[in-house]
Assembly symmetry: C2
Homo-oligomer: 432 residues x 2
Amino acid sequence: MSNISTKPLSGFMELLPEEQQVFEQIKSIIESEYRDSGFIPMDQPLLDRKEVLLAKAGGETEKQIYELTKGDTELALRFDLTVPLARYVANNYGSLTFPFRRYTIGKVYRGERAQAGRFREFYQCDVDIIGNENLAIGYDAEMPIAIARVFKRLDEEMQTGAVKIRINNRKLFSGITEELGLTDTQSLLGLIDKKEKITAEEFEKSLQELGLGEETLSVITAFLDSSLEKLGQLGISNGVFLEGVSELQTVLNLAKNSGFEPEQFVFDPTIVRGLDYYTGTIFETNLVSYPEFGSVCSGGRYDNLASQYTSRSLPGVGISIGLSRLFDQLLKAGVLQASPNKTASQILIIPLDEQYIVALQTQKLLRESGIVSEINWSTSKLDKRIGYADKLGVPYVMLIGENEVADGLVTLRNMQTGEESKITASEVANAL
Amino acid sequence: MSNISTKPLSGFMELLPEEQQVFEQIKSIIESEYRDSGFIPMDQPLLDRKEVLLAKAGGETEKQIYELTKGDTELALRFDLTVPLARYVANNYGSLTFPFRRYTIGKVYRGERAQAGRFREFYQCDVDIIGNENLAIGYDAEMPIAIARVFKRLDEEMQTGAVKIRINNRKLFSGITEELGLTDTQSLLGLIDKKEKITAEEFEKSLQELGLGEETLSVITAFLDSSLEKLGQLGISNGVFLEGVSELQTVLNLAKNSGFEPEQFVFDPTIVRGLDYYTGTIFETNLVSYPEFGSVCSGGRYDNLASQYTSRSLPGVGISIGLSRLFDQLLKAGVLQASPNKTASQILIIPLDEQYIVALQTQKLLRESGIVSEINWSTSKLDKRIGYADKLGVPYVMLIGENEVADGLVTLRNMQTGEESKITASEVANAL
């Protein structure tokens, strides 16, 4: 034995069994809703060549990346699921059928400065639909519908509450600034992206400081306050803008009529989603009761998934849930409670008088009625073994000793009430 | 676009959708059988401090490890699931209830020389039960039972055939060599470990070359040919040996009476499982029809899980399935076939005459009857869209146009037979 620290690395989530069980529940809800939305599973290596991962990446990403060398090859851990997807689609172009619909739930790595709620290893849960040369706007509408489906299940099973799925289209801003003749749009876009995090006065002041001219300012301000219906009153006739409005109307109309609560789908001209990746529809999702979480699921439409690897035009649309962060936030906010049990078993079978084989056969019988149990093989005294069941938090204990075997029965004890009943093994399923 | 290679790294599995779906099926069978055997899920970081991972490791492991440096910290990717488990149990000792039963299905990394069927990133599927100070022998018996359960399901769903679960106990060999006064047992053990891979003559010759003396040789040879019943006739009265025999009898007796096919559990004195990690019961598993696969699930009892991190005695027993390799072998042997479909959806809904909203609402209805579908949003001509359905391999196409909507029906087309029927959406579940 040495003095090696047994703590996990800082920024790397490692849960106790009581928490892990809840994490797995959320993960499996997301997975099953993605799958039931007609996406197929994909699982890719976590390591890739550094030049592959960084082909398109900029400064921040490059600083955060975990890199290593094996033999002569410079490798890195993936920092998102989209770059490996791009490589995959370019590599398997001839074998795939487009639109290609896949989901991936997997870990990604970013060596950010460690701080509360920020993880260096974390799960992303992505769906993307990739087209070949073109991709109809209806596919964009599938994204808010998939978000609605996932969060409806999460609300039903874990009371996470309603969501607001905010939808915008980058073509609106592009069209407006094109028509207004603005050439440097990056600082304006960056300011809009920050709007939610600063006060109205601060926003107003920073907007003035951009020196945009009065007319421009009034159009921008009117746009940021506009509803979908009032977009026509901005007086913008630019083709890109009108295309954006039309796409937005289609996406909102389809989402609102998909059979999920229509009010959760809202147009929000203030969402931006980074500066240059997305080109059309964009999404952010907030939990209505927990605005402080920030966006829990985001994404959008991009013109070209894999321009760094192929000359083919592969437009796509996708969303991503940052699962590790969401779980951590829900747990800290008290929305999720760690399971009271340290086991997923419903019954702890305690064989007495060495009735081990009957215990095993009973366990198999229970399993066939869908009941998960475990056997306590300890030779300690009964009260110690009951104490173990108590610590484990298992709901029922089943005693099988000579008397039970002679009567062809088992003793079932409810650990909460202490109540005991002698019944046949096949009656147990009903008794639970 | 650049000339970056889009291939995955050599030794890193990356599957096409048709293969990935089958991989996911196997993974989910293993996971559900582990869970139903009363194990709880655990998910740990893939990265750890290098000193943690290498605290107990020897030369080969150290050469194969993927290491990296981030900031001042020397890190490495985990090369198995047991070392991180040991750190976890040491770190969370006070919060866990023992025996601690967990499963982990996750990727591990070994930079072995790339060769057919060897992966550098691969899935291990482990279950372990860890005791505090002691762990009853009955827990050892749960391992072959869990193996039987997993491979029974795999056989039922994927025709992998019967398995032979070979069971031995290291105390037999330890007791015999102790009684015979052999001090250097490593080369003998290494030779037995190789027995299956060499001819009987080669084995005989190498055994002679160890220079063990005639009496010793005859005992060893008799042991290696012995059945469980004949172990008593070896004339060994050593306490360690007798303890091993008793444990072996218990494990075999329980496994054979657990309700699973008794003949699959066999005593095999020739299995060794490495030189120094295991201390009691050991397991290897072979697919009866595919002996060339080697062991597909192995494990055993170890005295002390975490001696490198804690002075507490934490005995355990566990097994591991090397999933990536098993999947690859089953696929190459033709036992598994890649799915004929590039989608998991049962129906491709093709809206005609812009009946998008009815399509979405029908999709939701289908989903509520458990049917996964996807919508084709393309505006191409119908025959092109049917051609897409064909390439996708989706079993059914559903047409929803003005006529269908007027009649309150949908057109369901069986893609195999070409047969079409006009029915109500709620009749679809029965029609499939």
